[in-house]
């Protein structure tokens, strides 16, 4: 194994360990959420989905914002590490979006009576998911590394700027179309056990994000190193 490939493998290993720790933390969150927090009187057990859904949404949006920031920086600095990071963050973002888009409707159905509503949060999360998919599809379709990096960066930046417009559209739509009052899932003031669990869960999901992105970054780095040594051979 070449030096570069070995370094990449080291990064991957660190990522796998960190995300493994994250998964252990996730188990802890499960225990906290299921055992330690009280059952919400109005919503019942299903409310506890909240402790997974909200942190997943946070992680997905974090991933998405970082893709945007890395894209801007890449077009400015042209550092391939930024492009590699953006690609890793996008893939991990899709994973968290998946969690968010599955837990969301599963939570909504018992609480709101419907699998889906076009409210601001859900609509935004759906669009972020589609933007991720488009981003990854484009990357898969472009073979030249430099071109792929440039194109992805443009999509990343445009995508980041689209989000406020989606938000504005939904806001305008809802203010001009009065919707029936729906039962809002989050209580106005969270009891301390709920707040603690939510914060712990958010921390765990952030650790998972960091671990996954590190591992994914390392895997890309390793692939590139192996391809270079193959070309050189």
């Amino acid at each position: 194994m070449t030096g570069e490939a070995a370094r990449a493998a080291g990064i991957v290993r660190r990522g796998i360990i960190l995300s493994g720790l994250g998964l252990a933390g996730l188990a802890g969150v499960f225990v906290l959420a299921l055992g330690f927090t009280p059952v919400e009187a109005r919503q019942g057990l299903a409310q506890k989905i909240f402790y997974l859904h909200v942190p997943a949404a946070w992680a997905a949006l974090l991933a998405f914002s970082l893709v945007g920031v890395a894209s801007i920086l890449y077009l400015w600095l042209k550092d391939p590490r930024l492009d590699r990071f953006a690609a890793a963050s996008a893939e991990v973002g899709v994973v968290f979006s998946g969690v968010m888009l599955t837990t969301g409707p599963i939570w909504a159905k018992p609480i709101w009576g419907t699998w889906w509503t076009w409210d601001a949060r859900l609509t935004l999360t759906l669009f972020v998911f589609f933007l991720f998919i488009g981003y990854l599809a484009l990357r898969a379709a472009v073979h030249d590394a430099a071109e792929r990096a440039r194109f992805s960066a443009v999509v990343g930046i445009l995508g980041l700027l689209l989000v406020p417009f989606i938000h504005l559209s939904v806001y305008l739509f809802r203010t001009l179309h009065p919707q029936p009052i729906v039962l809002k899932p989050s209580a106005p003031s969270l009891p301390p056990e709920m707040l603690t669990t939510l914060l712990v869960s958010t921390l765990v999901f952030t650790v998972l994000y960091a671990g996954f992105v590190t591992a994914r970054y390392g895997l890309s780095l390793g692939d590139e190193a192996r391809e270079e040594s193959r070309d050189a051979a």
């Binding site: 933007l131 488009g134 599809a137 484009l138 379709a141 194109f151 417009f165 305008l172 001009l176």
Partner: protein
């Protein structure tokens, strides 16, 4: 007139003349929108929803789909002729190049929309009357927005293997805000609602256009240059 703008008009003129000669993009898009309108007409149950409720959505979905067909064809034709390569070798400022492409695409898509509109009135029996100027205005605003993003994305998509699939996948999320706004304004125009009800949406459209035309113009160089 500043050089860049004159250059953009020259580039746009060249593309438009080329399209007028071959008519590939226009023909595909026009046939496509006629077909879409026919399908919508047969697909809906006339007793369930009145034409006026559905009309704005149908019109804009048709415009959006036809725009994608036009954008795709326009860039594919150009790639086949390798016309862009020659332009790139010349010291043409990339912003002017983008603007020229944008203007040409706007001319194509605008033509498709102008022809689709009477077809729409015909098939759906909608009365436009004094809504027409407003309708033309909102159509222009929304079209500028999604054609700007469409121009830069089709420049990218055409360099990939599955260009016809890549463009919609990339572009559709970006079409949503202008489409929502356009449908909202159109439905209010057709219902003779006062301007105050449309103001928010029109501002959104204007803001979208300013932000994305500027951004796409600046980003164009990253797409066409090595």
């Amino acid at each position: 007139m500043p050089d860049s703008l004159r250059l953009a008009l020259v580039i746009a003129g060249k593309d438009i003349r080329g399209e007028l000669r071959s008519r590939t993009a226009l023909q595909s898009a026009l046939v496509f929108s006629a077909l879409v309108l026919v399908v919508f007409n047969f697909a809906r149950d006339p007793t369930a929803l009145s034409a006026t409720d559905l009309a704005p959505s149908v019109l804009w979905v048709t415009f959006a789909l036809a725009a994608m067909v036009a954008l795709n064809r326009a860039f594919t034709v150009e790639r086949e002729n390798s016309a862009l390569d020659g332009l790139l070798l010349a010291p043409v400022p990339r912003e002017a190049l983008f603007l020229g492409k944008l203007l040409a695409n706007l001319a194509f898509v605008g033509t498709v929309e102008l022809v689709t509109l009477p077809l729409f009135v015909l098939f759906f029996n909608v009365s436009l009357g004094h809504a027409l100027p407003g309708l033309l205005g909102v159509t222009a605003l929304a079209t500028i927005g999604f054609v700007a993003v469409g121009t830069i994305f089709s420049a990218m998509a055409v360099r990939t293997r599955f260009a016809e699939l890549m463009l919609p996948v990339l572009l559709l999320p970006f079409m949503v805000p202008p489409l929502i706004a356009a449908v909202q304004v159109t439905s209010r125009l057709l219902a003779d609602r006062p301007l105050s009800e449309m103001w928010g949406w029109l501002r959104l459209l204007a803001l979208y256009d300013i932000v994305f035309v500027t951004l796409c113009m600046l980003a164009f160089t990253a797409v066409v240059d090595e």
